[in-house]
């Protein structure tokens, strides 16, 4: 890939994080009745704050419905944030509109979860990958063809496949096509939204290795959204754990997996089955009671208090503060020490 700098404005300050969100909220209205009046809000993302440094991979883990995908999409401005700031290279993009917004789109891209649904079955692979190039009017004619072939090659597909259709490829190959499309505009920041969840175990490793190779080659920054804690442990430098619209813990990979502080993180890690019968036979599982509460009606106090094994009266009244308990280690729990 070429290292064009078309869309990378200004001088970079190496100390500013590439992406920073501050108190980001995404609330979806619930409408009901014949007049479709708003009767409530789903608090999908309810005030999250974190940085992603240039060149690093931040893992975002949580169970379905915790708001992790919504968080990724809001950061890319695929939804209008309800509140909060999204700083790309120190510039707030949360309220950008029209042409200025279009200008920054090429700098951030997304790899989607389902490779069967995210590729248009009526378009050839070549036109799928070239679509971002056409949309942003960057390359034409032979140059464009060349770029498509270059991208196919970079993701490990035969460049001769440009005229084939998505249905001719397997799931893993389709995910490679989706990755090539995300890379077409030389983005700096990529949100990978469960990119391996729909793939078989033997194919998952191929795709993760490809993502890591491309990151090393082009110095990319990833937000890796996943519910697969062992894969996140492999790919991420730092990990954020989300529960019911909030981040409950954020730490380096070593700290988070080595000594989780938040009771939810502890339960989540202990719930992952380990492929080793000898370990499983002696391991203590923390089994959480009950289900995830509805994000339309989160509990008072700490979000996790309804399922938390160590919750006290304080937790049911007061929402714990998001605090840094050690350098680089954040947690939202009254009893994290």
């Amino acid at each position: 890939m070429t290292t064009d700098t078309l869309n990378q404005p200004g001088a970079r300050d190496e100390t500013t994080p590439l992406m920073r969100v501050e108190n980001l909220k995404m609330h979806f209205p619930i409408h009901a009745g014949i007049f479709r009046r708003q009767v409530g809000t789903i608090k999908a993302v309810d005030g999250i704050t974190f940085d992603i440094k240039r060149g690093e991979t931040l893992g975002l883990v949580g169970e379905s419905g915790c708001g992790k995908s919504t968080a990724g999409r809001v950061m890319l401005r695929l939804y209008e944030a309800t509140e909060g700031r999204i700083l790309l290279d120190g510039v707030d993009i949360a309220r950008l509109k029209g042409e200025p917004l279009r200008k920054i789109r090429p700098r951030m891209q997304m790899v989607f979860q389902d490779p069967h649904a995210s590729l248009n079955p009526r378009m050839t692979v070549g036109s799928i990958i070239a679509e971002p190039l056409d949309e942003h009017g960057l390359l034409k004619g032979a140059e464009r063809e060349e770029r498509v072939e270059e991208l196919l090659d970079a993701v490990g597909l035969n460049p001769a496949f440009t005229n084939r259709y998505p249905h001719e490829f397997s799931g893993g190959q389709r995910q490679r096509i989706g990755i090539a499309r995300a890379f077409a505009l030389n983005p700096e920041f990529i949100v990978c939204d469960e990119p391996i969840a729909a793939l078989d175990v033997s194919i998952q490793a191929q795709v993760v290795n490809l993502l890591e190779d491309l990151q090393a080659r082009f110095g990319l920054t990833y937000l890796f959204i996943s519910h697969d804690l062992s894969m996140v442990r492999h790919i991420a430098d730092r990990v954020a754990v989300m529960y019911l619209g909030k981040i409950v813990e954020l730490a380096s990979r070593q700290d988070l997996y080595g000594a989780p502080k938040h009771p939810y993180t502890q339960a989540l890690l202990s719930a992952v089955p380990i492929p080793n019968p000898a370990v499983e036979a002696t391991r203590e599982h923390i089994v959480l009671k009950g289900d995830l509460p509805s994000p339309a009606n989160p509990p008072a106090g700490c979000n996790f208090c309804t399922r938390c094994p160590i919750a006290t009266d304080l937790c049911r009244v007061e929402d714990p503060e998001w605090r840094e308990i050690e350098p680089g280690r954040h947690v939202a729990c009254h009893y994290a020490e």
Binding site: S170, D200, V201, V208, L229, R233, L288, D291
Partner: protein, 347 residues
Amino acid sequence: MTMRSVSTTGPKILEVTDLKTVFGTRDGAVHAVNGVSFHLREGELLGIVGESGSGKSVTMMSLLKLVPMPPAEITSGRVMFSARDLLSLSPGELRKVRGGEIGFIFQDPMTSLNPVFTVGFQLMEPLRKHMGLSKAEAREKAASLLALVGIPSPADRLDDFPHQFSGGMRQRVMIAIALACDPKLLIADEPTTALDVTIQAQILELVRDLRRELGMSMIWITHDLGVVAGIADRVAVMYGGLIVEHAAVEDLYANPKHPYTHALLQTLPSLDSERAEKLQSISGQPPSLDAEPTSCPFAPRCEFAFERCFRENPAIRSTNGGWAEDRVSHDVACWWDIEKGAPRDDD
């Protein structure tokens, strides 16, 4: 939890021999199951592991002729259950077995319950059909089943519809339905795949409890090697419509002998040990299954493949002297002896 001990002498409640299932499609035949044999003893939990398209679900559906026929056709095999061949039963007799003597739990709790009937109705249906209970008796039993699978205030929840339950709760209801008629055998097809890990942990805990209480015999189909490690007594690994390896669970994980199992265990990133710089991956794609295998289906992706692998399909055979009083046979279908690092020496 204690170490599991595998029964090697108990009575066999299920014995499957040389099962083959072929789907006739517009684009030609798909050979989904290509000669699968296994058995299950009373009180055992057999894990069947494989990726999508390996034939694990079709195998289990074929046992009870739950595959749509046509397009599917069971071209060979015997399924001995309670001294009868299930494949030669009449549709009426088979209906008595399904949901009666053999319970089934399906993968997706969102779609396998009927949304227009109450949970109580769906639980009582098999009780009245198979066990001939009266409405009042069935209702009582249904409530006790919901209590058994850990649903709070069970009697009240019988009148709720499936959409009023969460995913994990619906899977508990599915388990309750499968358990309704005290089945001799429970077949679970990826019962936790659609669930979140914390909910999966609840269901796994429930299954462990139920096995302790009821001594159930189970077949558990999954793609997740971690889940199987925690609950199974024995494991069969499927690839390309064949069982390529079978062993007691500790033996399989400690000492995988088929290159596919070996590679699969290597590709998994770990949660508890040293983090590898790079994940091991298995190159290539799963086989297409458009014909019965004439060579080893894994050969094109196998790092040990040699000329014979492309010529002949290896039969599965024991590598530790077969079954014995205190030993589970460790069977492998491979021409290569992974321990010696040389082709296997017989035939």
